[in-house]
């Protein structure tokens, strides 16, 4: 800091330009990452064993074709072409959402994913809401308590809960709540009456419980430590010294700065959760994207694999971008490009 300078309000054209270039830069970065991911996705099936035609049929059905028929398919679908043309074709197909046909059941990959995705979103969405509410509340309380010297047990509890393997917890919940006490159904997403709200809710109970219980530990610890660092920060100490009462101090001066990093964490978590739900969806036979992916890999269903992989990657990139875009809305320091 040199001699007194006039402050720079956020509305100057220079500042706006600066923000836009920053945003533009971030979007470009993500497009770059997406591009590389797409390239990997493109190369993935080609790198796996089985020859290029594996994208069109199972090994058994392929074996039944003659050599000429195979060559014919190859030229038709452009396998003879140089690799960069194939790549462009692939990109075109991605943009037009023509992701091929599933080898397992002949459905359009896009249709299969479109069927599965909402279930995953429902599952993941519900558990994120539950995890966030519980985890953050406990974390805020834990952070405040720690200042007064209590709360070591909750921390140990969080560590223990965070260490429980998801699949094992899923099994235990099935044993207790599904089989023994018959409280909730243990598989599928809908009951025999079809898509009723009650049926949906019932079938969500155990899977969401599993995801939530194994997820709150981390959110709790992260929130708690963020609270601690804000509570001991200078602005809060001084606000306290200026006579701001405890309740107001926490509400106006502690919560928002403490929860900012947690917000970013949660946004990123959502992105990864679709893939992370594979285990839960498999154990509970929940018809979501995770189960679809796992099934595709197990069945060597290359087109479906490629499609689900793409969607999973896209979700992560999207949530990353969203996290970056929403952060400045919450933190004024990021808004005006402060360099301190």
């Amino acid at each position: 800091m040199s001699a007194i300078q006039t402050s720079a309000p956020a509305a100057t054209p220079a500042a706006r330009r600066g923000r836009l270039t920053y945003l533009g830069g971030r979007i470009l970065e993500y497009l770059g990452v997406l591009f590389v991911a797409l390239t990997l996705n493109f190369l993935l099936p080609r790198a796996l064993p089985g020859g290029p035609l594996k994208l069109f049929g199972s090994p058994e059905s392929l074996a039944r074709l003659t050599a000429e028929e195979r060559a014919q398919i190859a030229t038709e679908y452009g396998f003879g072409d140089p690799i960069h043309l194939q790549f462009l074709d692939y990109l075109k197909s991605v943009v037009t959402l023509d992701l091929g046909t599933s080898l397992s059941d002949g459905r359009e990959v896009t249709a299969a994913i479109a069927d599965a995705l909402p279930w995953t979103l429902l599952l993941v969405g519900t558990s994120i809401v539950a995890t966030t509410l519980i985890g953050i509340t406990l974390g805020v309380i834990g952070g405040m308590r720690r200042r007064e010297g209590k709360g070591a047990f909750t921390l140990i509890g969080a560590i223990v809960v965070d260490s429980i393997p998801q699949f094992w917890l899923a099994m235990l919940l099935i044993v207790w709540f599904g089989v023994k006490w018959q409280i909730a159904p243990t598989f599928g997403a809908t009951g025999p009456d079809g898509t009723t709200v009650a049926g949906l809710a019932e079938h969500l109970v155990l899977p969401v419980a599993t995801l939530t219980i194994t997820g709150i530990g981390y959110i709790f610890m992260y929130t708690r430590s963020s609270m601690l660092s804000v509570l001991t920060s200078e602005p809060v100490q001084h606000a306290h010294a200026r006579g701001i009462p405890r309740g107001r101090l926490v509400r106006r001066h502690v919560l928002r700065p403490a929860l900012l990093p947690v917000h970013t964490l949660i946004m990123l978590d959502i992105g990864f959760l679709a893939a992370g739900a594979i285990v839960v969806e498999t154990v509970f036979a929940y018809p979501g994207l995770g189960r679809l992916t796992f099934g595709a890999i197990a069945a060597r269903d290359y087109p479906l694999m490629q499609g689900t992989f793409l969607v999973l990657t896209l979700m992560v990139v999207l949530m990353n971008l969203l996290a970056d875009l929403t952060y400045p809305l919450l933190d004024p320091r990021a808004r005006t490009g402060a360099n301190q």
Partner: protein, 291 residues
């Protein structure tokens, strides 16, 4: 003009040396118990423990088989003990490899030339976008399920996260005053690393190692549970796989069959977590000292 000798305050030599608090010590004790169990399983038990049929299938716990037997008459307690060895060996080997990889790559990204640093960071960004579990499943399905392959895949997929952390730590280290002073003295990179950086970064490697080991244990158990583990070697995840496949949780047997392996996994991860968090807690204020 010389300053007279004043008696300096008796200050403890660098309180950071006490890296484990009470929490960390509990974790360390727990971990050594588990390691002891694994060693017992490795050295004392016969080679076919957990694989040989020693009784009738589906037997309840008894004197001969304290945890009962599985669907093929194999002793479940033996499987638990041998499984400890399997999981821990894999966890520690992968953690060691990953830590080295993360340190080298993260270090290069920190002090190397700009272009190298950029490439590495972009590479890490891309790798972080790809879903880990899916990649593991893919690798296990197509590349095989032997120990070596599993270890390699785990290390390859797990190094980016700690590499980023270590790069940030390297950047902080490089701006510390005593490192800058040594550079001004004409010290070469090797001296800086050996004398100064190792002191500051060395302790950081422990949480990296511990956290990686935790993730390996959980991921490996998950993969085995999904049927993608090594079916020839008893492990906690594989035991649970057979639980799932045989629908064991529809009967009473879940208690002694599905319970112990899950508890074992949880306890191992908890012990590592206790060690990891207590070290991180103690290291953090030190990292911030550099302003």
């Amino acid at each position: 003009m010389s300053a007279p000798a004043t008696s300096p305050p008796v200050v403890a030599r660098d309180r950071r040396r006490d890296l484990l608090g009470r929490q960390g010590r509990v974790g360390a004790v727990l971990l050594s118990l588990i390691v002891g169990t694994a060693a017992y399983g490795f050295f004392i038990l016969p080679d076919d423990a957990g694989k040989a049929r020693v009784g009738l299938p589906y037997e309840r716990p008894s004197g001969a088989n304290p945890l009962g037997t599985d669907d093929l008459g194999r002793d479940l307690l033996d499987q638990l003990l041998v499984g400890a060895g399997t999981s821990l060996t894999l966890a520690f080997i992968v953690a060691a490899v990953t830590t080295v990889l993360a340190a080298v790559i993260g270090g290069l990204a920190g002090i190397g030339p700009r272009w190298l640093s950029s490439i590495i960071m972009r590479g890490i960004d891309v790798m972080l976008v790809l879903p880990e579990l899916v990649l593991f499943i893919l690798a296990a399905t197509f590349l095989g399920q032997s120990f070596g392959i599993r270890a390699a895949i785990l290390a390859v997929i797990l190094w980016p996260v700690p590499a980023r952390v270590l790069r940030a730590a390297v950047l902080t280290t490089w701006s510390r005053a005593h490192v800058e002073a040594a550079r001004a003295m004409g010290a070469g990179q090797s001296w800086l690393l050996a004398r100064h950086a190792s002191y500051l970064l060395g302790p950081l490697l422990v949480p990296v190692f511990v956290r990686t080991a935790m993730r390996v244990i959980i991921y490996d158990a998950t993969l085995s549970f999904l049927g993608l583990g090594d079916p020839t070697v008893p492990s906690w995840g594989t035991t649970l796989y057979w639980v799932q496949v045989n629908g064991v949780f529809l009967s009473d047997a879940w208690l002694w069959w599905a319970g112990p392996p899950g508890v074992a996994i949880t306890l191992t991860v908890v012990s590592l977590a206790l060690i990891g968090t207590s070290i991180e807690d103690r290291l953090n204020p030190n990292l911030q000292e550099s302003r």
